[in-house]
C-alpha cells in the first residue's frame, strides 16, 4: 500500500496556498464535541420549542379545510371549482408543478453538493431531502384532485387492457408519471440510506416504541469499517444517479407543455427554464425551513449564519439564471413569427392575469436583489419574509404559465376574459400547504433533521484542516 498516493494529506504547496485563504468564518464551531452533537440533535426529537405545536396544529387546520374542499368537490363535481373548457387545469396543475419543483431541489442540491464535496451541506441536506419526499407526495395528490371524480383515475392509467384503450407511451403525461415515480422511489431510498447511521444513534438512545422503530429501521447498523466503506460507495453512486434524474424529471414535466402547440408553451427553452425555476423555488423553501428549524429545534450551533450565507448566495445565483431564461422565453416569443403566441404574451401582461404576471415579476425577479443587502441576509425574520415572497412568486409563475394560455389559445372561443379560480380551488391549494407542513413537522419530530454523523465528520475534517495549517 505504501506506493499509493495518500490524497488526504495535502502537499506543502497546497498548504501554503490554503494558508492564504483561511476562511473568516468556519461553517460550524470546530470545538463542538461529538457527544454534544448527538445530544443536541436527539433533544430535538423530544423537546422542541412550543411553537412547533402551534405550526403543527395550524397546518392540521389548513389541511382539514383542504379536505373539506376536496370532499365538496368530490360530491359536486369540478363545476364547483369553476373548471370547464377551456380552463381545465386551473390552480391544480399549477400547484402540482410548484410542488414537483420544490421537491426538485432538495435531492438535487444534496446530491450535487455531495458530489463536489461541499461540506456546508451536511447540517442541512437531511431536511432538504425530506422536503423533496413530502413535496412529491403532495404533488401526486393534485394528479388525482384535478380529475374531480378521483375514481376516474383508473381510466387514464396506461396499460394493455380488455377495453382496447391505447396506452399512449408517446404522451409526455406517461413519461411524467414514470419520471416522478422513479424520482420518488430514488429520493426515498437516498433519504433512507443516508439516514441509517443516524437511526442507529437514535436506536442506542431511545426507549419503548421509538426504540423498536429505530431498531427496525437501522437494520442493525454498528458502524463497522466494511459498513462505512459500502455506505460511502453507495451514497456517492446514488448521488450520481439522482443528479441527472432530477434534471430529467422537471425537463419531462416541462414537455407536458412544450410538446403541445399551445401559444406560450411551445418554447424550446422550457426544459432548462423549468429546471431553473424548480431549483429556485426549492432553494427559497430550504431557506424558509432553515430559519424555522433553527429556531424551533434550537439548532443555532449547526444551522449557522455562514452556512445560511452560502445558501443565500446560491439562491441568488439560481434566481439570476431563472431571470435570464425568463427573458429568453419572452424574447423568443416577441421576436418570433408566431402572432398568436405574441398576442397571448401581451394578454398575459395586460389582460385579466396581469396582476399574476407582474406579481411574479415583483416577487421572483425584483425581490431576489434584496438578498444583496446585508441586513436582509443577516436579519432572520426579514429573510424569512423574503424567502416566503420568493416562494409565492414561484407559485405565481406556475399559475401564469398555465392559466393565461388556456384563456387565450389558438381559437377565439377560448378567449375567456375574467376567469378566476373558485374558493374551492384556493381551499384545496391551501390544504396542500397544510398537508406538506404537517407531514414535514411530524418527520422532524420522529427522525433527526440534522445528519449527526456527517456533522461529526465536518467537525473532524475542519479540525484536521486547521491543524494542518497550524491555525488551531
Amino acid at each position: 500500500m505504501s506506493h499509493m498516493i495518500n490524497h488526504d494529506v495535502p502537499d506543502d504547496n497546497e498548504i501554503q496556498i490554503e494558508k492564504k485563504f483561511v476562511p473568516k468564518d468556519l461553517d460550524i464551531d470546530k470545538d463542538v464535541s461529538w457527544a454534544q452533537i448527538n445530544k443536541d440533535v436527539l433533544r430535538s426529537l423530544d423537546r422542541p420549542r412550543p411553537v412547533f405545536w402551534v405550526i403543527f396544529f395550524a397546518a392540521l387546520a389548513l389541511f382539514s379545510f383542504g379536505v373539506y374542499c376536496e370532499k365538496y368537490q368530490y360530491e359536486n363535481g369540478l363545476g364547483v371549482a369553476d373548471l370547464n373548457n377551456p380552463q381545465v387545469w386551473g390552480l391544480y396543475i399549477a400547484t402540482f408543478i410548484f410542488w414537483i419543483g420544490m421537491g426538485h431541489s432538495g435531492t438535487l442540491l444534496s446530491a450535487l453538493l455531495h458530489i463536489i464535496h461541499a461540506d456546508w451541506r451536511k447540517p442541512i441536506y437531511r431536511y432538504a431531502e425530506a422536503m423533496t419526499t413530502f413535496s412529491l407526495l403532495t404533488a401526486a395528490l393534485f394528479v388525482l384532485i384535478h380529475l374531480g371524480r378521483v375514481w376516474q383515475f383508473y381510466y387514464v392509467v396506461a396499460y394493455p387492457n380488455e377495453r382496447w384503450v391505447w396506452p399512449n407511451f408517446s404522451s409526455p403525461l406517461v413519461w411524467d408519471a414514470t419520471a416522478i415515480g422513479t424520482y420518488l422511489t430514488s429520493s426515498l431510498l437516498f433519504l433512507y440510506t443516508g439516514m441509517v447511521p443516524d437511526l442507529a444513534i437514535c436506536r442506542d438512545n431511545a426507549t419503548g416504541a421509538r426504540k423498536k422503530l429505530y431498531t427496525f429501521m437501522s437494520l442493525g447498523w454498528q458502524g463497522t469499517d466494511r459498513q462505512w466503506a459500502t455506505f460511502r460507495v453507495t451514497y456517492m453512486t446514488l448521488a450520481c444517479f439522482l443528479m441527472p434524474l432530477a434534471v430529467s424529471v422537471h425537463s419531462i414535466v416541462s414537455t407536458d407543455f412544450a410538446v403541445s402547440q399551445n401559444p406560450g408553451w411551445h418554447i424550446t427553452s422550457f426544459p432548462p427554464y423549468f429546471v431553473a425555476g424548480a431549483l429556485y423555488s426549492g432553494c427559497a423553501v430550504i431557506i424558509t425551513l432553515f430559519i424555522l428549524l433553527r429556531y424551533v429545534f434550537r439548532f443555532e450551533a449547526y444551522m449557522t449564519m455562514p452556512i445560511l450565507n452560502k445558501l443565500i448566495k446560491m439562491t441568488f445565483a439560481i434566481a439570476m439564471v431563472w431571470n435570464y431564461l425568463n427573458i429568453i422565453e419572452y424574447s423568443t416569443v416577441w421576436y418570433g413569427a408566431n402572432e398568436i403566441a405574441k398576442q397571448q404574451l401581451l394578454d398575459k401582461m395586460t389582460g385579466t392575469y396581469a396582476p399574476v404576471f407582474w406579481g411574479m415579476v415583483f416577487c421572483s425577479t425584483v425581490m431576489p436583489f434584496t438578498l444583496l443587502i446585508k441586513f436582509v441576509r443577516t436579519h432572520l425574520p426579514t429573510l424569512m419574509v423574503v424567502s416566503l415572497i420568493l416562494n409565492f412568486g414561484m407559485w405565481l409563475e406556475r399559475v401564469q404559465i398555465i392559466t393565461p394560455t388556456f384563456g387565450h389559445s389558438q381559437y377565439p372561443w377560448t378567449w375567456t376574459s375574467g376567469w378566476w379560480p373558485s374558493w374551492v380551488q384556493f381551499g384545496i391549494v391551501a390544504g396542500s400547504f397544510g398537508w406538506f407542513t404537517m407531514l414535514f413537522m411530524l418527520y422532524c419530530k420522529i427522525f433527526p433533521t440534522i445528519s449527526m454523523y456527517e456533522v461529526k465528520e465536518m467537525v473532524h475534517d475542519q479540525s484536521k484542516m486547521l491543524k494542518a495549517k497550524g491555525v488551531a
Binding site: 382496447w164 407511451f169 447511521p197 442506542d204 469499517d225 473532524h460
Partner: protein, 174 residues
C-alpha cells in the same frame, strides 16, 4: 474455539496506534483480517491500516444499469406491440424516440434499486450482527473488535490496555 474482544478508545489516534501494533505483532491464531473497526464516522486513515477490503456495490450497480434499460424497453415495446392490430394511422407501433425517455427512467430506477440492494448485501444487514457492541461507538468512541484463538486473547488484552483503552468487552464464540 475463537473469542471476540472489543476495546473502546477515545480517538482515532489511539486506535491507530493499536492497529499499528497489531499489524507489527505476529500473534498465533490471530490475523488482521479478523479486526473490525466500529466508529461513529467513516475513518479512511484507520481503514488503510486494515489492508484492502473490497466493496462490491459497483457490481450490483452495473447489473442494474445493464438490465434496467433492456427490461424497460422490452416492457414498453411489448406493451405497444400487443396493440399491433389496432389502427395506428401510419404511426409506428413501437416509436423509438418516446421510448428512449422511458428507457432512460428505467435505467436510473434499476441502477438505484440494484445499488441499494447491493449496499444491504454488503452491509450484511439486517441479518448479520457483530457479537460485541457498545452504544458509545455511535456517540464518540472508536471500537476495535478482534476475533482470535482463546490462547491469544490475553496478549491482545495486554495490547489494548497498553494503549489506554477505556473499556474492554469480551465474549466467547464457537
Amino acid at each position: 474455539m475463537k473469542s471476540h474482544l472489543l476495546a473502546l478508545y477515545n480517538n482515532m489516534e489511539e486506535a491507530g496506534l493499536v492497529l499499528d501494533e497489531l499489524n507489527a505483532t505476529k500473534l498465533p491464531g490471530f490475523s488482521m483480517k479478523d479486526v473490525v473497526i466500529k466508529s461513529p464516522i467513516e475513518h479512511p486513515e484507520l481503514s488503510e491500516k486494515l489492508g484492502k477490503r473490497p466493496v462490491y456495490v459497483q457490481l450490483f450497480t452495473l447489473l442494474g444499469v445493464l438490465f434496467g434499460p433492456i427490461t424497460g424497453l422490452t416492457l414498453v415495446a411489448s406493451a405497444q406491440a400487443s396493440f399491433i392490430y389496432q389502427v395506428r394511422g401510419g404511426r409506428p407501433v413501437v416509436p423509438v424516440p418516446p421510448d428512449m425517455v422511458l428507457t432512460y427512467e428505467f435505467f436510473i430506477l434499476s441502477g438505484v434499486l440494484m445499488t441499494v440492494i447491493g449496499c444491504f448485501i454488503g452491509w450484511k444487514l439486517p441479518g448479520n450482527r457483530s457479537p460485541l457492541y457498545n452504544t458509545r461507538v455511535s456517540e464518540d468512541k472508536i471500537g476495535i473488535l478482534v476475533k482470535a484463538e482463546e490462547s491469544t486473547i490475553p496478549y491482545l488484552n495486554e495490547i489494548f490496555k497498553k494503549h489506554h483503552s477505556l473499556e474492554i468487552l469480551g465474549e466467547g464464540v464457537k
